[in-house]
Each structure stands twice: as C-alpha cells, then as structure tokens.
C-alpha cells in the first residue's frame, strides 16, 4: 500500500521542491549579481529612468497642465523667450519650440523602454526558437538556418536601418520589429544554437525521447528553458542596440516619431543650437546623457549577467 501512496503525495511536493530550488538559485544569482558591482550601478540607473517614465503620466494628470507641459504640442506661456533656461516651473528649461524639456525627457523614457523591450523580446523569441530547432534537428535545417544567420550578421545594421527609414516610413513599432528580426535571426540564433548544442547531448533529452516526447515537446519543454539564462543576457545587449539605433535614426531625422531623445537633439540641431554647448546646455545634455546612460546601464547589467551565466568567468 505504501507504494501506491507515495506518488500521490509526491506531486505537490515536487512542485514545492522546484519552487525552493528556483528561489535558492535566484538568491544565489542575486548575491553573485550584487558582487559584480557594475551590474548594481547599471540596475540603479535603469530603475531611475523607470521611475521617470512611470512618473510622467502621474505628473501630467496631477501637477502639470497639459496645455503647457505636453511633450509634443505644449507651449510654455509663462516664458517670454524660447528656449528658456531652467527655472522653477521648468526644471530643465524649454526647447526652441517652447516645450518643457523635462516632460519630453520623461515621456521619451517610456517609449525607449517599450522599444527596447519589444526589440529584445522579438530577438530572443526568434533566436531561442531558431537556435533550439537548429541544434535539435541538425542536418539540412541547421545548415539553412545557420547560413541565413551568417547572412543576417553580415548586414551592416545601422546602414540598413538608415536606408530603410529614409526610403520608407518607419515608426517605433516597426523599428523594434526590424531590429528584433535582424538580430534574432542573426547573432542571437548563432549564440543560442551553440548553447543548445550542449543541451541536446544531455541524457535527459534522450530520456524524454525514449519516453515518447515529440520534437516540439522536447524543444520547448526541455531545451528552451535551459537557454533562457543566456537569452535573457542577450536581451540586455539588444536593448542597448535598439535604444542606440533609435536615437541615431531620430537624430538624423529619419524616423516618423513624435517625440524621442534622438528627436530632441534633432530639434536642437535644426534650430541651430548644437554648437552653443555652454549657453544652451539644457538643450543638448539631458537627452544625450539619457541615451548614453540608459545604453550603458543595460550593457553593464548584461556584462554582470555574463559573469553569472558564463561558468568560465566565475571566480576561482
């Protein structure tokens, strides 16, 4: 009788054990992450910008009057000449068109996060699937997918994006998709395939196959979860790339977007304030520094995660 009872009571306890194991590895990785320090600095900057992005709609609904503080169509009626230097009402001054710079900055932060997140999710979804499929099936499917990846890696990214956005209209959503597809089929799938290759030779894959698991089941239940740490790491670098590309394109005035950090600098350039760094610093520094800091912080977090995920970089 005891033999019959054991499996029934084991079902909830397996879940419990899994949860405990998961929490333990999370705690371990978290302390490793804290130990890298560069990751912590990156995380602090990301949280800072996240707070800015989340605070914008709240401020717009409570303190800021929409007529004045709208990032795109607002006008600072309380200033006599535009661009106005920082004051109590406009902490970072106004731009040449009389719009509040801080409001623009906070509004754009949200778009940048969404853009980066979408591009990263698309990249990693494609990359993980392609990598796992190529490693699992091998042979002709592997060859086709990997040669295609080589082709994608060959594409000069920024130039392709510039040409595309100069020739056809591109908005944030399309841009995120293009970046996601380019890097998903390219670098991400090569990297994740090399990781997946070390997973498919594990005994539990054979066991799953012997137990009658179909290819889809094995790929998505057994291989993909083991690729997740690496793909999460790759996401960070994709976010950096996406934010950077967006900034470059809108700085060159090639994107059909209403407001972004790159566009703020484009406006400054179009109005001719670009080389008056000392006199009109608030037109140049907030947006440029934001782009730089956010790109840097995601990159730093990615580096810190690399130290955790990559066993060869562990401290001896």
């Amino acid at each position: 009788m005891a033999v019959d009872v054991a499996p029934q009571s084991a079902a909830p306890s397996i879940r419990k054990v899994r949860l405990t194991l998961f929490m333990r590895s999370l705690r371990e990785n978290w302390s490793l992450f804290l130990g890298t320090r560069i990751g912590v600095i990156g995380l602090v900057i990301i949280i800072f910008y996240l707070v800015l992005a989340l605070a914008h709609p709240i401020l717009m609904n409570t303190v800021w009057e929409e007529r004045v503080y709208d990032p795109v169509v607002g006008y600072a009626f309380d200033e006599t000449r535009q661009p106005a230097p920082p004051s109590r009402n406009h902490l970072l001054g106004t731009d040449p068109l009389g719009r509040d710079v801080l409001s623009q900055l906070m509004h754009s932060a949200r778009t940048e996060f969404l853009l980066g997140l979408l591009a990263a999710v698309v990249t990693v979804t494609i990359g993980t699937t392609v990598g796992a499929v190529a490693a699992y099936y091998g042979g002709i499917i592997d060859t086709i997918l990997m040669r295609f990846a080589d082709l994608m890696v060959m594409m000069p990214g920024i130039s392709i994006l510039i040409v595309l956005s100069a020739l056809i209209g591109v908005e944030h959503f399309e841009l995120a998709l293009i970046i996601g597809i380019l890097s998903g089929f390219g670098g991400a799938s090569i990297l994740l395939k090399s990781q997946a290759l070390s997973v498919v030779v594990k005994p539990y894959i054979d066991a799953a196959r012997a137990a009658g698991g179909g290819p889809l089941h094995i790929i998505f239940i057994h291989i993909v979860p083991n690729l997740l740490p690496l793909s999460f790491l790759y996401m960070m670098f994709t976010v950096t790339g996406a934010i950077f590309s967006e900034a470059i394109l809108s700085f060159l005035g090639l994107l059909d977007v209403r407001m972004s950090w790159g566009l703020m600098i484009h406006t400054t350039e179009a109005a001719g304030y670009l080389l008056q760094v000392g006199a009109y610093w608030w037109l140049i520094f907030p947006a440029s520094l934001s782009i730089t800091l956010l790109c840097t912080s995601f990159y730093l977090v990615g580096r810190a995660m690399d130290e955790i995920v990559n066993p060869r970089l562990r401290r001896l």
Binding site: I38, D150, M154, P156, V163, L167, F244, T292
Partner: protein
C-alpha cells in the same frame, strides 16, 4: 588547406549572391524612381521623363532589372550614379573607400592596442577599483551616443581650443592652387603608411626571432629612423604641407573613434584572459617562479589573443557601418556619408553599390579570419 579555400570561396560567392538579392530588393522596395525627383520640374515634359526611364531601364519590371544588375555585378560593373550623374558607381566608391579605410584602419589599430593593454591589466586586477572604474568608463564611452560625443569633441578641441579643423577632409582655401589632386596625394600617403608599417613589422619579426639583446632599442630606433626618412621624402616632394593638411583633418576623427571603440577590445581581452588564466600552464608558469608580468604578458595574453584578433578583423569589415555616424558628424567624405546621402537622394544604384562593397568586405574578412587562425593557432587544421 587549398581544398578548404576553394570550398570557402564557392560559399562566399553564394552568400554574396544572396546578400545582393536582399539588399537590392530592400533598397528598390520603395515606390517611384529617380525620374520622380523631376516630377515637379516644369522644364521636363512627360515624354522626356519617359525617355529618362527607358534610358536607365527603369520601366522594365523589377526582376528584369535585377537580373541585369546581377549580371553586371559579376562582370564588374555597378552602374551609373544618379546624383553624381556621369560618374559610375565604381568610380565614386573607388574615391570614397580609401578615405574610410584609412580613417578606420588607423583608429582600429589604436583602439585595438589600447584595448588589449587595458584588458590585460583589468583582467589581472580583477575585483579592484581599477577594474570597476576602467570598465564603467570604457563601457560608457563604448555605448555613448556617438553623434553627441563626436560633437563634444569637435566643440572642445576644434571650436573652443582651435587645435584642429572642424570636420571635412581638407582645407579648400589651401588647396585652391594646389599642383596635385587630393586623391593622388592621398593615395601616396596611404602607400607611405603601408611601407612604414611593413618596415616596422619586419623589424619586429626579425628582432623577436633572433632574440638579440637590446631588441627594444633596435625596434624603437628603426621606427624613428624610418619615420624620419619618410618625413624627409615628403618635404622634398614639396607637397608636404598639403599632406599635413589631410593629416590634421584626420586626427580628431581618429581620436574620437579610438575612444569610443577601445572598450570592445578591452572587455573581450579581459574575458579571454580570465578564461585562459584557469589553464594549467598558467599555474605551472607561476609555480616555476616566473615574475607576474612575464606570466601575464607571455603566457596568458598571447593565448588570449585569438578571439581578439577575430574581432579586430571583423571590426575592420564593419568600418563602413560605423562610419555612417562618425563620417556624417565630421563631414568626412567616405563610404558611410556616401551611403546616407545616396539613400536620402534616392540614388539607388549608388546605395546598392555601397552595400555590395560592404558585403564583399565582410566576406573577405571572414575568409581572412579563417586563414589567420591557422597561423595563430597551430591546433587548427583544415
């Protein structure tokens, strides 16, 4: 090795074909053609526009144009540029490519050297404040918003301090009555640089192989002497001041590029060093009492070099891509700027041609990496 090279070349041709397909259709996917630019021009009647279209074969279906284009490319013709009209695409690229290559080659060599040096140090001092400060500084420069950083450099060193000219390739006032064309002169400058680097390389190889004492002194002396001879030769030609003008225009872009790209090499070197430091031979080298510096430079760094060299070759191949931004900001008339202006002006043949050249460059770099690997790592055999 020969068989490997042949199969690689075939693969490269196939990949190049696929690349040309993708790029051609991406660029040509936009509506209209070059005659649309003249649509609002009252002096150009509709039949003249049609003549223009049939002259360039733009009235044919796209797949037919594409077949003609592919045939032309594999016979070495890239068509005519619309925005520089009578000139061919190949001619425009032949003028622009050396400028980009010169700029990026110099900058890549500097950033590679700096990155490798710093990477060695921060890998050795892992966990110290040196490492955190260098990493954060390097990453910040690496992911900095490039146009802004380049503008700050221009503002600081060219605009405020006035040490360097603000952008452009040369000073038109100085060149107005110049007895020589800028491209010819630039070609000679490149040859000089090439000769100089070959001499330095040969001297380094010989002195390292012979293991003679005072190798450092000989190396340094030979560099100084050969630079002196080259400078003297340039003085005698009488074009020295013109060449100096181009060099002066190059300094700031090269400096900026070095600063924004060294961190890539640095971080890669660090990771590669950390992986190599776990090997047993490093333990052995330490156990036999070698000084730390010798272990670091002779045992670890040399073995950590392989991925770094790969990235060096690839970064050279992608110079055109990175060049788009820096060249636009510095108004440097290279490939990147050509590509952007061609795309904006709807000069599709030039845009496709520029892309195809980038593709050829990248593929050749892949091949070069495979060949270099054999020399750097004796364990690799094809």
């Amino acid at each position: 090795m020969a068989r490997y090279l042949i199969s690689r070349t075939l693969q490269i041709l196939l990949t190049l074909f696929a690349f040309i397909c993708i790029v051609y259709f991406i660029v040509n996917a936009q509506p209209g053609d070059i005659s649309n630019v003249y649509a609002m021009n009252p002096e150009l009647p509709p039949d003249a526009r049609e003549r223009l279209q049939s002259q360039f074969g733009l009235n044919e279906p796209l797949w037919k144009q594409f077949l003609v284009y592919v045939r032309n490319v594999f016979t070495g013709s890239f068509g005519v540029s619309f925005s520089f009209y009578p000139r061919t695409v190949a001619d425009v690229i032949a003028e622009r490519l050396p400028r980009t290559v010169a700029l990026f080659f110099t900058a890549t060599v500097f950033s590679f050297y700096l990155g490798f040096l710093l990477g060695k140090i921060i890998a050795w001092k892992r966990g110290g404040w040196t490492e955190y400060a260098t990493t954060i500084g390097g990453v910040t420069l690496y992911t900095v918003f490039t146009p802004w950083f380049a503008l700050m450099m221009i503002w600081l060193f060219a605009f405020k301090a006035g040490w360097f000219p603000i952008g452009k390739f040369l000073d038109p006032v100085l060149w107005r009555d110049a007895p020589i064309e800028a491209n010819t002169l630039f070609g000679r400058m490149m040859l000089t640089a090439l000769a100089l680097s070959i001499i330095v390389f040969v001297v380094f190889v010989i002195t390292t192989r012979l293991r003679i004492g005072g190798a450092r002194l000989i190396q340094l002396g030979s560099i100084v002497v050969s630079i002196g001879i080259m400078l003297g030769a340039w003085r005698l030609t009488g074009h020295g001041h013109l060449a100096w003008d181009i060099v002066k225009h190059m300094v700031l872009p090269v400096f900026t590029l070095t600063l924004i790209s060294f961190a890539g090499t640095m971080l890669l070197t660090r990771n590669s060093m950390l992986e190599t430091m776990r090997e047993d031979f490093v333990l052995a080298a330490r156990a036999k009492g070698l000084p730390e510096k010798a272990v670091r430079d002779k045992h670890v760094a040399r073995n950590a070099l392989l991925p770094v060299v790969t990235s060096l070759v690839f970064s050279l191949a992608f110079a055109v891509d990175g060049g788009v931004i820096i060249e636009s900001v510095f108004s440097w008339p290279g490939m990147g700027q050509t590509l952007v202006s061609a795309a904006v002006a709807e000069d599709l043949p030039l845009a496709v041609g520029a892309f195809v050249f980038v593709g050829i460059f990248v593929l050749l770099a892949h091949l070069a990496v495979d060949v270099i690997y054999v020399f750097l790592d004796p364990r690799i055999r094809y």
